[in-house]
Symmetry: C2
Subunit: 383 residues, 2 copies
């Protein structure tokens, strides 16, 4: 099958930019990615734009500001996984031979506050008290603590680590360290999750230029272009909320989460296992989610996610660094853009361009985003 | 390249169903398509769901009611071309070999009245008086009348024809003939377009099951499965509105509309020309649009679209039947679903299942949808 590489990436900082239209953020991220890829805009043959809250045809309204070249510009939406989904579709268009050069873009301006229940969907979820993200995350955290003995201190330490990493990320919203005490004493939102254990919904954009490996040397040294080794989207096989595994609550057979199935398929596609990864960017919408997903991604055994942070294994210089970018806890989460923000981090890490947050000699990285309803995108890049 | 066929199609009637959630309409269309294809739901490996106004993750919220099977369910949006875009992405996933069986779904519940300006986008459009669809369509009609001598009587006759066809379509919103006088005397909306020359935004759903041609015989006789011969999306190469060619207004070089570029690419992909088509379903958002698009699709020379209807050439028994389904003028336009409604009509016509609106011995048909901003999808099916 035709191989696909990422020739360039770009990011608009994640944060709150109330007076800046999403189109301007998208244009900045795209121009940065095109420059990084050394690809002229006229050579891009299709664009897929991930967004959850932008108005219809947001991608075309954004990219028309760069220039009208007649290419298809398709908006793609799978909630928080939208960016990952746009990468997967772009990847398929190139492997199928329809295109040589495709732009994947993610843009978002989030509504103020937590994501509103109207966007989360089914009436039973609201009836069940799942009226915003943190309620669901807290239920999963409570269950994880009960089943595996995970502690609130471990959850806080994930936030300490990610904020420490985020200090060195110029695209992050929060760029200062948060002490364990600050986090443990911050406002309680949904027990056990306090406000500094939750990521902030915000605004931002990120972009990647994908190319067929066979043609990329027209633009850039192929050695500088990480290869898309795995690119998979899955949804849950069980009724639930936001793809979060509620473990055995009332369900007798073991639940296989979409994170597990997507990761398994992506590992197979890449011909590697979790032990071959040098670092991971995963969806730390809340600090306990990092613990849960690290298990579901196979970075440790189920129930041992807390140990990764306790023993420093998920630090930048640890055995399996998690969220060296600072994760969503530092960057905030513009949902349509967050997946492409992870891809940008993967590319910078694999090229050795990540500055003070560089993972030494990174050769393989994984990106993981999961959205409401449970579309989970896992992308593996290798240098 | 791997060939792709359409094994089955389904439709929920287009109309106003205020108390029916979009999910129910989507489920009905999907179950009908699965039954038609003889494909069990568990065999579907991915789904792409076109919608413009449905809430986030609408596809997954719909299909989870049929059953959670863990497949990726991605929402796709290119305004009125959303259904066509979902077909193109599904097609690419199969040709690339990632899937054997993919569902393309379109669902919509339109806001009341004409599409609101907020959904149409750029502030300059509102400043220019393009505050809803009919204003833009009327500007194009005026220009076409001035340049080519197209008459309001010709425009009315398109509406007469399409309403006559729609009588025989059980999925159409309006199923009665409209006389020339009724149309010419109906309420003026935007000169020269009267209310009975405009399609009604409404609710509906439609679905298609796409399969690799090499594996479809597991489910259904391959002879009953029209082949996707061309599947292309393009956008404009000029600044404008809704992809409508405003002809030479202030622009010195000839405008090449996305309908023209998408059709050209689709004809090349299919290895045929417009003369090889037996019928066409095209975007008659208003009756003059049918005249304009028939020219841009190459069914006649530029400026001669009015002649097609005058001479009866676009009737069901004419040389090149246009909108034998009754078109959007009869069916109404649930924008995310309209493209897949056309695909359903193409499949029924090519199988000889179109009843009293059957085009004799139809072997090749074309579907054309174009959205705000100008994403234009052209799909050619051959039996």
């Amino acid at each position: 099958m035709r191989e696909v590489v990422i020739a360039g990436v770009g990011m608009h900082p994640f944060g709150r930019f109330e007076r800046k239209p999403y189109q301007e953020m998208g244009v900045e991220a795209t121009l940065m990615a095109l420059k990084d890829a050394n690809v002229p805009w006229k050579d891009v043959q299709a664009a897929y734009c991930g967004s959850m809250f932008a108005p219809p045809t947001a991608g075309l309204k954004t990219l028309s500001r760069i220039g009208l070249t007649g290419i298809p510009v398709t908006d793609v939406e799978t909630a928080c996984a939208s960016g990952g989904s746009s990468i997967v579709i772009a990847y398929q268009a190139i492997t199928a031979g329809f295109c040589d050069v495709v732009l994947a873009l993610g843009i978002e301006k989030m509504p103020k506050g937590f994501i509103p229940p109207s966007a989360l969907g089914e009436p039973w979820q609201v009836d069940a008290g799942l009226v915003s993200g943190p309620m669901g995350f807290a239920m999963a955290a409570q269950r994880h603590m009960q089943m595996y003995g995970t502690t609130v201190e471990q959850i806080a330490r994930v936030s300490v680590k990610n904020h420490k990493n985020g200090v060195h990320n110029p695209y992050a919203m929060y760029r200062k360290e948060m002490s364990f005490e600050q986090i443990m004493n911050s406002l309680m939102v949904a027990d056990p999750l306090r406000i500094l254990m939750l990521c902030a919904p915000n605004d931002g954009a990120a972009a990647a230029v994908l190319c067929g490996k066979d043609i990329v040397s027209k633009y850039k040294d192929v050695k500088k272009c990480p290869r898309v080794a795995g690119a998979v989207v899955k949804t849950p096989g069980y009724p639930g909320w936001a793809g979060i595994p509620f473990y055995s609550c009332g369900i007798t057979k073991p639940i296989v989460s979409p994170t597990k199935t997507a990761a398994k398929a992506a590992y197979e596609m890449a011909g590697i296992g979790p032990g071959d990864l040098d670092f991971v960017e995963l969806q730390d919408t809340d600090a306990c989610s990092e613990i849960i997903w690290s298990e579901q991604l196979g970075l440790c055994k189920e129930g041992e996610g807390g140990r990764l942070v306790d023993e420093g294994l998920s630090e930048i210089n640890g055995k399996i660094p998690i969220n060296p970018s600072g994760g969503l806890l530092s960057k905030g989460e513009p949902v349509g853009a967050s997946g492409l923000g992870q891809i940008a981090e993967l590319v910078w890490q694999l090229r050795g361009d990540a500055g003070k947050r560089q993972v030494a000699n990174a050769k393989a990285g994984l990106s993981h985003v999961i959205g409401n309803g449970g579309n989970c995108a896992v992308i593996i890049l290798k240098r």
